[in-house]
Symmetry: D2
Subunit: 334 residues, 4 copies
């Protein structure tokens, strides 16, 4: 049973149905009826004018978003554990033509307003140093922690004061929203967020992510960059249809709630002492000896060794609750 | 009825079935069972060791391939009407970090060995000029012409003599192969081709193209570049499955034959005098007055105005032969 | 005797004296007294507010200027014989992060307003094609022809209508100004020119060129790009001092007049029939058999074989007029 | 009296004489007699085959060197206080097309072999992470500390084991060599160094630095990159002549010794308690209250506030020893 990652789960039924439905002739690229509905659908959800573009990967979403916020001569402030720093093969450097990632620290891969302020204060804004131009955070973070609206607003304030574009890597934005029960608006533009990479793939999509701009001016150059980086698919309707299908009837939220609930059940079974971080979304980092890990694997559970004495469990939208309960019992019995 | 382009046609049934079949858990990225079968499947088809990578667009296939062949300081020889020059928003410049496209002329968007030789002969190989490092042709060309194996071999000879990597943009490689009835091997590595962008999307795929390397060493850096450019999808099995489904039972060839046959029927109806170029694949460039074009459009046919007095018709894998015959009759009746 | 090129001539006495004079302690980079005088000195000469930066090469001047005018996603219109296309090793691609050079034709390496207009008219301004963002011409051209103020104004008008930044590669701007006797203002901003690479090295400088912006806003990012590309020298006063020395007493103009006069004398001796182009600046392209060329070389004259039956002669600021007259006689005697 | 930096000092007499001497006609770029002597002169000094290129700035030297060692997809390990990280406006990202700087810690801006090993050990060498490809250190460091030959050899060993190209930013290499009294060979290739940016400008040059490759193969692409980045000056002989003049008669070493001796005198006067780091080259970091600093400034001494309670003093090749002694006395009297 898989608790390895959420990025290989099946596509959810609504997505499969939407693909079948979209399998009709329409205009190429993003001129089709589905693609044209995206701005409206996301604007409705976010209660604000949104410019929405589909892209096939989270890396593309993040890096096109960052390229829109940061010139080649600028720096992007992010956490030292951020996905853009750790797991995108240097894609931000590629898309921004060599902008710099300036790394911040913070427990649970969270960034504090103070850390942002200090990073800016350390820089001489002359031609010799690289001035910060953007702030990028991940919500939920790489360690499964969630920024609340108020935390985001505090970050947004520093970003605004320091003239930083504010990007959120929301590969698990749905899990964050499901946890906080705050509105998508409160978790983004109301807090000063300019750009959101809104993840769908980990949450039941097949191969479509949404890149959202809350200020259409920021988005102006992005359609061209999307094409130039090879991310303008000919049959874009198949991507747009996935996003629309998951917005419809709030499947994005239902899927995230299911994943979060599975993580919650495992966290309760593990108990606070074993948890490296509070479990807020769909990831658990659990203290465990090598023997304990081996014992769970012997029972058929698949997960990632994160660090010595620490494993990572990730739950998915489609997690079988029977398997979750059995794993919870197995953890409790360690 | 659509004769506008082949890049918006539906996905073919085998592809839809393959997506449904692949909708099971497997490893992420390209670690899954489907992706792992790609090298073997393409090696079988090409009778040669092939390194095969899925990517979501033809632009990504072309530009990752070119980046593997040409350093930032080099030039890529291509036709002035090549897709990489005309219709990819400068993506080759992005992926190669500023390599140059050196443009060649030639009827029907075809490049001759002499044109390649002359372009190389014009260059001083000192530090002031940009030395050609790659040759990129399109087969079938942007005007629907097809290079035969012998023509390719002649180009391959010059490429080899001039130390040029040889890339084929095969967005419509299937149509070319269907026309020549030559083997995929004869149209590629046996003629000296190093890299092929093998198109599936225009030919009945949904969102998967194949990037093939006939010399695995040339491919070494490419998986990393694919990730770095945002083209490593999490659920790669859905791309691999499309390619495998179309290789299976030679659906790729059957689809191309259908599209070519439709074009052939229209070409015969139009007659040689109206045709700007011989019709070899699935594109026709037809001389037509504005009134004639309007008349056809009035009868419900949709196509592209290519140039004054010239329209472009493109047929697809799923073209309804009834509609084709009616359009053929309408053209004949002009 | 050298008629090979003007880019290896000695530095003129005023420059050498200025270097000696600047060999005192001052602030580093461009914070010194000499560098701070540049804006004013060039503003005086051009009768307009000018932002002036020293750089060590013409390639740096051209490419920093172009990077200020053209985003990575844009195209620069230039002549197919332009130095930026032919002789800068692809530097424009490097500095602009992959912007495209769109090549225009025209006799004597001159570009007409019609050619610019046609190049723009050919482009679809959608996300698939690369929109022209800048126009770059060379004055005097690579074939020694000179644009007059009225010609420049006509180009400036098209540039403005098409929203193109207008750059002049003035490696031999001094020779052009000496020829037309028009004011520097008439040859630049009054004609709509935004950026000028004002060459000093070929004209008696040692290693300083001037990059001038007639709209300070265009220059805003350039000091940072200069640093980022390694062109901010620590002891910038030695570059600034060269430029100031040549502006002082109009040495730049005197030097250019001397070079032009030498070319004029050779042109008169050669006669119109031998001249491939009218001789307006300090370059001659002369029809000559291989035997004739060999005969001149036998007499000690050094020059460049440009094309079969054609040689190039370039005169310099320091050309010995005795040698010029002897060569003139030798040519006349061929 | 200036103790602010060594990068604005005058050029030394030998350099000025060499410029006058080189002010004769020769071939352009690096085809002249002076440039052609560089490889030999540096090979003699380093007792090894050296490929030597002049460039006008240390940033150009560093970044061309790094671009030769690290592909766009790789990482360069360097100290978090390294000049390439702190003071080059992101130039490494520009020249390498977006390679990453991975930052290491270490007292006095020195890097230990363990820190290099740990940085490599932390990386997964898969397509998601950025693999280290080069190690760059600064000798003398940004805090004026000097790596001895044995320390360098230990770093060279790790670099070799981890397949890292080894670059030394030697903006103050002369000061380091003067301090250790070890041979240039022992401080470079014998310790496994592949590329050295050998600084001359801070040490009495005007505008020429040397970029040295101890393995000519590593240098192969560099002349083209030098041109492409605008660093191939037309009248290169004026740069080569500066370097040759300073190698001749070991002026480079004599100048460095003078600067070091001045720093030594100040360090002795300050006493160990005030020194943040041992003084090994020509930089001092001195603990001092704001009042003390003000008092010194009141006496006419010019220096940099480095951090609260800490100032930086830098001595130059031409430092007047009278002024040094007076400052030493003033410091001792604080």
């Amino acid at each position: 049973m898989r608790f390895f990652s959420d990025n290989a789960a099946p596509a959810c039924p609504a997505v499969m149905a939407a693909l079948a439905d979209a399998n009709r002739l329409d205009t190429a690229y993003d001129g089709d009826a589905w693609s044209k509905r995206l701005d409206g659908a996301f604007s409705d959800l976010f209660e604000h004018e949104v410019r929405a573009l589909w892209v096939p990967t989270g890396t593309a979403a993040n890096c096109l978003g960052l390229a829109a916020l940061c010139p080649p001569t600028g720096a992007i402030l992010c956490h030292e554990q951020a996905h853009i720093e750790q797991d995108e093969a240097g894609a931000p450097g590629f898309f921004t033509h060599g902008a710099k990632l300036t790394l911040l620290s913070g427990a649970g891969a969270k960034i504090s307003p103070e850390a942002v302020e200090q990073a800016c204060a350390r820089v001489r804004y002359d031609v010799h140093q690289v001035p910060p131009a953007a702030l990028s955070i991940t919500n939920a973070t790489e360690y499964g922690l969630v920024y609340r609206g108020a935390e985001l607003a505090a970050l947004g304030e520093v970003a605004s004061a320091r003239n930083l574009g504010f990007h959120v890597d929301g590969a698990r934005f749905a899990n964050a929203a499901a946890f906080t029960r705050e509105s998508p608006a409160d978790l983004t533009w109301r807090a000063g967020v300019d750009v959101l990479s809104f993840g769908f793939v980990k949450n039941g999509g097949m191969n479509a992510e949404a890149l959202l701009f809350f200020d259409p001016e920021r988005a102006e150059a992005v359609p061209r960059l999307r094409k130039r980086s090879g991310h303008l698919l000919s049959k874009g309707r198949f991507l747009a249809a996935q996003l629309l299908a998951m917005l419809d009837g709030e499947i994005w939220l239902a899927n995230a709630r299911a994943a979060n609930a599975a993580a919650r059940a495992l966290a309760d079974a593990a108990g606070a002492a074993r948890l490296v971080f509070p479990v807020e979304a769909n990831e658990l980092f659990v203290r465990m000896t090598a023997d304990e890990a081996a014992s769970l694997r012997g029972q058929g559970y698949d997960f990632y060794d994160w660090a010595p004495g620490e494993v990572r469990l990730v739950t998915s939208w489609d997690q079988d609750m029977g398997a979750v309960e059995r794993l919870a019992a197995a953890i409790a019995a360690l």
